[in-house]
């Protein structure tokens, strides 16, 4: 399978603190890759550095045949590398529909109609302001915006964090549908049950480095790795 995104030796600083210390990973066409790690390990920093929301000090990022390291976030987004950020990035004073409309880009396989079919709740609330949505609705809106924006690779930062189990299931199903439509996904997720359901491969990040890497089956049976890197006891 061809490689959609390849990251090598990514180094990022916040001021003087050296947060990412040589991250390397890849996402192939058609797969879902999960990035795991404890709080503060550098997962969000990795996604932000890849899409240009943060400027990495060093590293190569190849996306669709281009080295996009150092590109500003808007250019990476125009290229189809779309981040659904941890805080969801909703415009609270714009209506749901305005949030969606400013995200529409020519050529996207998803239309507003498709979005309302996938997320009926967004249609019901389309005249509400983004700030009035529940956490789950905001997450749906954030994913929906990325879909309208013609994604070639989607990066989701903890999309089900803090959501009720029904909503988690709904979002998991939508993520799988997006994968079916051929969009590769790099997802940061703490919830191992969710990871097991969707991820084809897993990376674990520890103190700004990739400490572990395995495909889904290997990882599912590797109690020791989960205990050691994530502090999850085998049961």
């Amino acid at each position: 399978m061809s490689i959609a995104l390849q990251v090598e030796n990514l180094n990022t600083f916040y001021g003087k603190s050296h947060i990412l210390q040589g991250i390397g990973l890849e996402v192939r066409e058609g797969e879902i890759v999960a990035l795991l790690g404890r709080n503060g390990a550098g997962k969000s920093t990795t996604l932000k550095s890849v899409c240009g929301a943060l400027r990495p000090a060093q590293g190569a990022i190849r996306f669709r045949g281009k080295d996009i390291a150092g590109w500003p976030a808007f250019r990476a987004a125009q290229e189809g590398l779309l981040l659904v950020p941890e805080d969801r990035g909703i415009f609270g004073l714009l209506t749901v529909e305005e949030n969606l409309r400013i995200s529409q880009r020519k050529g996207s396989p998803w239309s507003l109609k498709d979005i309302y079919r996938m997320f009926p709740r967004l249609e019901e609330r389309r005249r509400n302001n983004g700030g009035q949505l529940s956490g789950g609705e905001q997450q749906m809106l954030s994913i929906a915006r990325a879909l309208l924006n013609h994604p070639r690779l989607l990066m989701l930062d903890e999309p089900v964090e803090g959501l009720a189990p029904v909503i988690v299931d709904e979002i998991v199903n939508q993520v799988l549908e997006i994968k079916q439509r051929g969009i590769p996904i790099l997802i940061v997720e703490q919830n191992l049950a969710v990871c097991a359901k969707i991820a084809d491969r897993n990376y674990i990040i520890e103190l700004g480095k990739i400490a572990y890497h395995a495909d889904a089956v290997t990882f599912a049976n590797d109690d020791e790795a989960r205990d050691r890197y994530l502090g999850v006891k085998a049961d």
Partner: protein, 284 residues
């Protein structure tokens, strides 16, 4: 009847204040940037109009051309200078833009002299309208009508179009706007140019009413801030309401107690700050 005359005058001037204030307010909303050079763009709009009319151009050419020139100049200033200081504390914004305002004002004096001049009302609108015993200059009526149409158009652009939604999104978070693929640097320059261009247009429209002189920019800056504070930062209808309130107060006071006109306005602003710190129609 004299009051009706003053009230009409006040509405006309108030609409110009609205144009000034709405530019200031949108720029602050998007960039969190305090622009003390805003009055200088008004000054330039008036002087460009004056200059073009002196050179023999029709006012109908001079007025839009002056606004466009101010817009281009402001966008250029934003690209070359101002975008470098957004991230610095507000004191730097004040320092740099006050400096810019002084440079523009002094340049105006160097180029056009310290005395100022007059711009005749444009052809076709230099007469008066008579309704019963109410007599009113046509040009001033035109200013009221034109700015009213402009106000509605601007409101529609900001609230009803995709471009307006992008500007509002940028005002909430430029990072999140960039994540959707928008070049926020370019949006910033465009909005800054547009806001300054509105100030320039207000200056161009004001020129036939009040003439031009080098200190009109300073006065306009003070008024624009008063209007934004009274109306509420970031509130479009607030700027409109406050602009007209200030204009009418000024105009009516000018015939009752001229020395007190300014006092009333600043007193009004102080009252609003104490009683409703977010302004009459400001958002929470």
């Amino acid at each position: 009847m004299t009051y009706l005359f003053q009230i009409f005058n006040g509405i006309g001037i108030g609409m110009l204040y609205f144009l000034l204030a709405v530019g200031l307010s949108v720029i602050f909303g998007l960039l969190q940037f305090v622009n003390f050079a805003h009055g200088a763009f008004y000054l330039l709009g008036a002087y460009f109009t004056y200059d073009l009319v002196e050179r023999g151009y029709s006012f109908w050419v001079a007025m839009p051309l002056a606004a466009i020139m101010v817009m281009a100049l402001a966008a250029l200033t934003e690209i070359v200078l101002l975008r470098r200081i957004y991230k610095l504390p507000h004191t730097f914004h004040i320092l740099v833009t006050v400096g810019l305002a002084l440079i523009i004002q002094e340049m105006t004096i160097i180029v056009w002299g310290p005395l100022g001049g007059n711009v005749p009302p444009p052809e076709g609108l230099n007469g008066v309208i008579i309704v019963g015993d109410f007599i009113y200059p046509e040009y001033r009526l035109f200013v009221i009508a034109f700015t009213a149409v402009l106000a509605v158009g601007l409101w529609w652009v900001l609230e009803g179009t995709r471009i307006g939604a992008i500007v509002r999104a940028g005002s909430e978070s430029s990072e999140n706007t960039a994540l959707l693929g928008y070049n926020t640097l370019r949006i910033n320059s465009a909005v800054f140019g547009l806001g300054a261009g509105l100030a320039g247009l207000a200056g161009a429209l004001a020129a036939p009413i009040r003439g031009v002189e080098p200190f009109m920019g300073l006065e306009a800056l003070g008024i624009a801030f008063v209007v934004v504070v009274i109306g509420g930062m970031g509130s479009y209808t607030g700027a409109l309401l406050a602009g007209i309130l200030v204009g009418v107060t000024q105009s009516v006071m000018a015939s009752l107690w001229p020395e007190g006109a300014r006092l009333m306005i600043y007193l009004g602003m102080a009252l609003v700050i104490v009683a409703m710190p977010r302004g009459l129609l400001g958002r929470a």
